[in-house]
């Protein structure tokens, strides 16, 4: 309860959470609103938004309903963001926890690896992985996770370094508890709050990554994510720029609200770190 009241005191975060809930609801109910394939041609091409009440957001160059594509695209966009952040968190927490807990050469090696992944230009690496392993949702999620784990690893490591010699951990050690038990059961729960904040921000970053990959035409060909809709519309910016504009606004609002949620989580979970 304490957490909820602190979170909702941040008005931006509250608005962000409500909008994301709405987007998630739309994503879940997409087949109810638009039961047919959103990539089907349903009307005359290049109808401007408002021209025809049947197509509230207009149609694209082929005559596909933009609203239907946005609603269905919400699924792909949100799922990719969530799963990519989960992959990044899994890698980051594993690397950061072992590095911070064991120290020594493990720590040294892990931090060098983190530096390595920060040096390789991230999006170029994602594009290469996706092209080599194939443009499937699965591979895009993994590729984004692989380039997004380093901040989480650094944060987890710092938390573990601060906690590993505290009294409660020493007490567990003196009771003969194993390393894995101490890491998972004792330190990790205490180290999680700042990590959760970062993970929520990685969701937003992952959505931006995916939209760039799809925009460049390297996304999953069977999925109409928002980034791909922007890319599809770019040839027509002289006559029908709304085809590009609408999905971009959808991406921006979603990312903005996820960032607001991240700020709210930061306020609620790390009162010490406020205003950073």
């Amino acid at each position: 309860m304490d957490f909820l009241s602190r979170f909702s005191r941040n008005r931006g975060a509250l608005v962000g959470a409500l909008v994301i809930l709405l987007v998630a609801l739309i994503a879940v109910l997409a087949p109810v609103f638009f039961p047919t394939d959103p990539l089907r041609i349903v009307g005359p091409p290049e109808l401007w938004p408002g021209d025809d009440p049947d197509f509230l957001l207009g149609t694209d160059s082929l005559g596909r309903d933009i609203l239907a594509m946005i609603v269905h695209g919400a699924r792909a966009t949100l799922l990719i963001g969530l799963f990519a952040s989960a992959v990044a968190t899994l890698i980051g927490v594993t690397v950061g926890a072992t590095a911070g807990y064991f120290g020594g050469w493990v720590d040294e090696a892990s931090m060098r690896a983190a530096e390595l992944f920060q040096t390789i230009p991230n999006l170029i690496f994602v594009l290469t992985i996706v092209v080599i392993l194939g443009s499937t949702l699965h591979n895009i999620v993994i590729a984004i996770g692989i380039v997004s784990w380093t901040p989480i690893a650094r944060m987890t490591r710092a938390e573990f370094l601060a906690l590993r010699d505290r009294e409660f951990v020493q007490a567990c050690r003196s009771m003969g508890m194993g390393d894995l038990g101490i890491i998972m059961g004792e330190i990790l729960p205490n180290a999680l709050p700042p990590v959760i904040v970062l993970s929520s921000l990685v969701v937003a970053g992952a959505i931006l990554f995916e939209s760039a990959v799809s925009f460049l035409g390297l996304g999953d060909p069977n999925v109409a994510s928002w980034g791909r809709l922007v890319g599809d519309g770019r040839q027509l910016i002289r006559s029908s720029w709304y085809i590009c504009a609408i999905p971009g606004v959808a991406i921006m609002i979603t990312v903005l609200c996820l960032n607001l949620i991240g700020d709210g989580l930061n306020d609620a979970l790390n009162p010490k770190l406020r205003d950073r």
Binding site: L116, I120, P121, L123, L127, T128
Partner: protein
């Protein structure tokens, strides 16, 4: 006298830092090469098949010859060893699509990308720092809110989309700026012509980072303003603006410089997307062509040279950090 000693000891410290960073860069580069080399050899379908298919080579003897020239019969570790050995001699392989050495194909395109990167970072740094300073000096006023709303907006807008929207407004509707490219076709190419073409791509790529720097700068300014030395400076009778500009600003810049270093790789990668939006003739277009035609020697070369650029930029940022932070001298 004291100043001379201080400046010479700082120079020694800077040289030490440079040497240490260069030594650290070696394993880092090795790691970049190994990771990418292994990744590319995970690819199903050898690039030899693609190359022969594209150039319609079917003669078995020729294919065999090519297989030998590209060393494809060797085990993976030997191919890797040979590649690293060649890299040390600046030999990145041969690109059959451009029909020139990979290093040449990349260096032709690299200046345009570097220009875009440098102008975007400069814009981001200038705008971000200025906005952060204004917001922190006018904290909790209209100006502060304006900066944070703008920062939220640009931090969430996908750069490629922002670029397209700016093309629609400034190039298509208003006709003030060119739609894309780096120079006017026929008769262009002067420095002002290039700068004219540079404005929109720089804004599209740079405003995202300006948003980050503005937020960091604002909170950093507010934090430094609480420190003891600021109170001392005020107690000496310096005006609030003097203290802010001379004492707080320099110290508050440090976190911004740190992020700047961490984000170099991201900026380089981001320019790939922006280059595609604005038909900017940089490494991005070469990468895109090479990735979609599976021209792996070029992809690997771009990764290696790109990482080198990032490492060099990081070293520059470290030196800048040292110049800004007087405490580093003691170490």
């Amino acid at each position: 006298m004291a100043g001379v000693i201080a400046s010479s000891s700082r120079r020694v410290a800077a040289l030490n830092l440079l040497r240490r960073r260069l030594v650290q860069a070696v394993p880092l580069m090795l790691g970049v090469v190994v990771i990418n080399f292994v990744l590319i050899h995970l690819a199903p379908g050898s690039f030899l098949e693609l190359m022969t298919a594209e150039n319609q080579v079917s003669d078995p003897a020729t294919v065999e010859l090519l297989r030998k020239t590209y060393g494809m019969e060797d085990p993976l570790w030997l191919q890797l060893g040979k590649y690293i050995w060649a890299l040390l001699h600046l030999d990145f392989g041969f690109s059959y699509r451009q029909n020139m050495p990979v290093i040449q194909a990349i260096t032709i395109n690299l200046p345009a990308t570097l220009l875009l990167m440098i102008s975007s970072i400069t814009l981001a740094f200038a705008v971000g720092v200025a906005a952060g300073v204004v917001a922190s000096m006018k904290v909790r006023t209209f100006w502060d809110s304006l900066v944070s709303v703008a920062a939220m907006f640009f931090f969430a807008a996908p750069s490629f989309w922002l670029g397209i929207m700016m093309i629609v407004l400034f190039a298509v509707k208003l006709g003030w700026l060119p739609v894309g490219g780096m120079a006017t076709i026929g008769g262009g190419g002067g420095i002002f012509d290039i700068l004219h073409h540079l404005i929109l791509p720089t804004l599209a790529l740079g405003l995202f980072y300006a948003a980050i720097y503005a937020r960091v700068m604002r909170s950093s300014m507010l934090e430094v303003a609480q420190l003891d030395f600021v109170r001392t400076a005020r107690a000496k009778g310096l005006s609030r603006n003097q203290v802010t500009l001379h004492h707080v600003l320099r110290n508050a810049l440090l976190p911004v410089v740190t992020i700047l270093g961490v984000q170099m790789g991201t900026v380089l990668a981001g320019s790939v997307v922006i280059e595609s939006v604005f038909s900017w003739p940089g490494v991005g277009s070469l990468l895109f062509d090479s990735v979609s035609s599976r021209n792996y020697p070029v992809v690997l070369g771009i990764m290696v040279l790109g990482s080198l650029v990032v490492i060099a930029a990081n070293i520059a940022v470290d030196l800048l950090y040292m110049w800004l932070d007087p405490r580093i001298e003691i170490r």
